[in-house]
């Protein structure tokens, strides 16, 4: 399964429980909540979806099925807004 990593054109800042992001290229803002923030932190290193869910299940009191569903949904949103990318794409682009 493909690994996922943060997009590189984003700058971020903590804002209370939220994380505020600004895309340097598009100038768009995004804000994510506390759980989303943890997912974002984990994606500092490339991870695939099962690895991400495993890490989250160990930290949050949530059953595995629900964790997988919600994480997949959130990650899909991150992709929609170009906040993350596939790690493989990045390595291909850099070669």
């Amino acid at each position: 399964m493909k690994q996922i990593i943060r997009s590189s054109d984003l700058i971020t800042s903590d804002m209370d429980d939220e994380l505020v992001m600004l895309s340097i290229n598009s100038g768009k803002y995004h804000a994510i909540n506390a759980v989303g923030k943890r997912i974002w932190q984990l994606l500092e290193r490339p991870m695939n979806l099962p690895q991400l869910c495993e890490a989250l299940s160990s930290e949050f009191d949530v059953d595995a099925k629900r964790c997988t569903e919600e994480t997949a949904g959130f990650v899909a949103q991150l992709f929609t807004h170009n906040l993350v990318k596939y790690h493989d794409d990045a390595s291909m682009a850099s070669t």
Binding site: I11, T12, S13, D14, M15, D16, D17, E18, V20, L22, I24, K28, Y29, H30, A31
Partner: protein
Amino acid sequence: MNHYEAFALTIASALPLPELAACSERKPDVRIGFAMIADEDRHSGLAQVFLSIPGIARFLIRNGTEVIIEADDKASEADIRLFVLGSAMGAILQQRGQLVLHGNAVEIDQQCVTFVGPSGSGKSTLAFAFQSQGFRILADDVCAVSLTDPLHPRVVPSFAQIKLWEDSAQALGESTLTKQRIHNRFNKFAFPSLSHFAPLPLPLSRVYVLNPCDKPGFSVETLMGHHKFIALHGNTYRPQFLCTSRQKEEHLAQCALVAKSVTVKRISRPKEPFLIRELTQFLLQDIQIQPRSVMHEADYQVQ
């Protein structure tokens, strides 16, 4: 050379700036002078802003210490001053690490309350109305927030003047006849406010985002979380001057920092009529009566 104090800086200027408070000759923080700008300097970057205003001048503002003016032959000093005291000083303050908001600042109860919002939202008019009631002004348009003490942002006093559109002045019962037009293309006039000028930096306690809308009556909502951040980020003065990634990152951090320590509220008022005196009273009530921290679902567009 003329010597002035403004924005908590000492300024030595070859261009006379009668709007500013004159001071004795001393080592300046900022130098303003006339010179040709070399081709290789005609761009903006990390430590410099290049600004070209056709028919008036080109400006090079750099290192938070220097404004170079290459003036057009036909440009009047008044036209040049408008950009020196606005955009150029805004760039200087940004380069000196301050968060510069597009807003007006008023001293209320030894603290600073700032009004932000797009041009035409009523910032200056509101500040002028507060001044008419005896409150002192800190800034008009260029509202610099110093983060020297990161947990206690302070608004730096700019200089003693409010710029008002002719119709706003009339609504406040002020005559523009004796006032100086700030620019020959605009019906906007300069109102000196020397006796009502707060001379020292003051803690920034509140920011009101002015929101003219089509609904009758006033309403106020407290912004929370990222909505506070967006209000500050979106009401930054001349954001296009922050053009490198490093500057954008620093700006983001500054907005988040100020958002943490400041109350940010959005105030909606009818577009027409302005009801300036009623709005002033409404705001004074809101400032004096400490509101409970009810979280409102603000419908700010996250974009």
